[in-house]
């Protein structure tokens, strides 16, 4: 395998494996938020803000994987 091919593989693995965890995390977050919303629909305002925040923090991990993948590919 050439160096270029290895680089491509590494970049794909970085983002692919790196988004596994955040995907699971966001799934759990959404399921719990929906559950909470079902139990207490009045809490939507407070729930929404915190939900978006948690979403952003879970997503940030995937973003680091994306950064690493881009660095592998282009640097």
């Amino acid at each position: 395998m050439t160096d270029e091919g290895l680089k491509l593989l590494a970049a794909a693995l970085a983002i692919g494996l790196g988004s596994l965890g955040p995907g699971l995390g966001i799934g759990m977050l959404v399921s719990k938020a929906m559950e909470a919303l079902g139990r207490n629909p009045e809490a939507q305002g407070a729930l929404f803000t915190n939900f978006i925040l948690g979403l952003a923090f879970a997503e940030a991990i995937a973003i680091y994987a994306l950064v690493v993948a881009l660095i592998i590919k282009f640097v």
């Binding site: 925040l53 979403l55 973003i63 950064v67």
Partner: protein, 328 residues
């Protein structure tokens, strides 16, 4: 009723097949870097910059139109009323998150970030973006026949590109081989734009933190209080925690800018690949998805800026330090 549904389904399938067979979309060309549009001396103006100007112009026009004949009680169908609904929503959000004292201070930044990102994302989905531009000649890419628009030789994506790929592409006479460098490209598909927004937001956040807490704000990052008091072990831990705080501050910059860039850029790539695979009908679903992503990402960026600002102006529990020594 049932017959009609079947008829519609058949029609959609027929459209997809016809589009796939006879009107193939252009081969996707993915460029991470924004393409230059104009060279003014040493200054390069990229297409994302032009798009950012376009969205600024749209925002200015809309708000000028709405505030031109502003009244205290706007009529139900006026532009002013529509915009006031949006602004009021954000004011309520700021009140909820930051409290009434800081809400009005944070509100302009939050709503500006939201409006700019939102308008840029939605404008980027319009036809004309990513499709009209110069041909950058090169070894790879499609074969372009010439279209003269006055003195300019322009390329318009589906119309004068032929689907020939690779090195051995030989077009007809007067054709050029190369890739499209569009004049307009969704502003947030360049890391420069998103990093600029994130830098402005973080600069404001640090400024607000400094103004609200004075030098106590810096104490969060360089915490030598317990070290000076002679408590070496805990002092070193404080120093280390301060270091972590500095790193997390920088990581915010990275995650803010890359989140927006990654989402919008991936959306563009998704759209261009889907146009290539199935050029008709199915693309509408993905456009709908991008409409959703566009507003959510704008909201996320604005909300994160708001929350970070709120955290920055809140005292770090230093006053109650003696009472709760383990609090960190």
């Amino acid at each position: 009723m049932r017959n009609r549904a079947v008829l519609i389904a058949l029609g959609v399938i027929a459209l997809i097949v016809v589009g796939r067979l006879f009107f193939p979309g252009p081969a996707p060309h993915v460029s991470l870097k924004a393409e230059p549009v104009l060279h003014l001396g040493g200054l390069v103006i990229e297409n994302t910059t032009v798009a950012a100007w376009a969205s600024m112009a749209v925002i200015l026009l809309v708000f000028w139109r709405a505030s031109r004949s502003a009244s205290l009680i706007p009529s139900g169908r006026s532009w002013q009323n529509a915009l006031e609904i949006v602004l009021d929503m954000f004011l309520n959000l700021c009140n909820n998150v930051a409290g009434p004292r800081n809400a009005r201070r944070f509100f302009p930044l939050v709503v500006t970030i939201f409006l700019f990102i939102f308008v840029s994302n939605y404008l980027g989905l319009l036809p004309g973006y990513h499709t009209i531009g110069w041909v950058e000649e090169g070894e790879h890419g499609s074969v372009w026949s010439e279209v003269h628009l006055g003195p300019l030789n322009v390329a318009i994506l589906p119309f004068n590109a032929q689907q020939v790929e690779g090195h051995d592409a030989h077009g007809p006479e007067g054709a050029t081989i190369g890739t499209l460098a569009p004049w307009l490209r969704s502003a947030n598909t360049s890391l420069n734009t998103t990093l600029a927004i994130a830098l402005v937001a973080m600069a404001f956040i640090e400024f607000w933190g400094l103004r609200a807490l004075g030098f106590g704000y810096l104490g969060k990052f360089i915490n030598v209080r317990r070290l000076l008091r002679g408590d070496i072990m805990n002092g070193l831990i404080d120093l280390f925690v301060g270091l972590l705080d500095i790193i997390s501050e920088l990581a915010r910059l990275i995650s803010l800018s890359f989140r927006l860039f990654g989402n919008i850029f991936a959306g563009e790539v998704l759209l261009s690949v889907m146009t290539y695979l199935v050029s008709w009908v199915l693309i509408v679903l993905f456009l709908g998805l991008e409409l959703l992503v566009g507003v959510i990402q704008a909201l996320v960026f604005a909300l994160l800026a708001l929350v970070f600002a709120t955290v920055a102006v809140t005292a770090h529990g230093e006053e109650g330090h003696e009472a709760q020594p383990t609090h960190h």
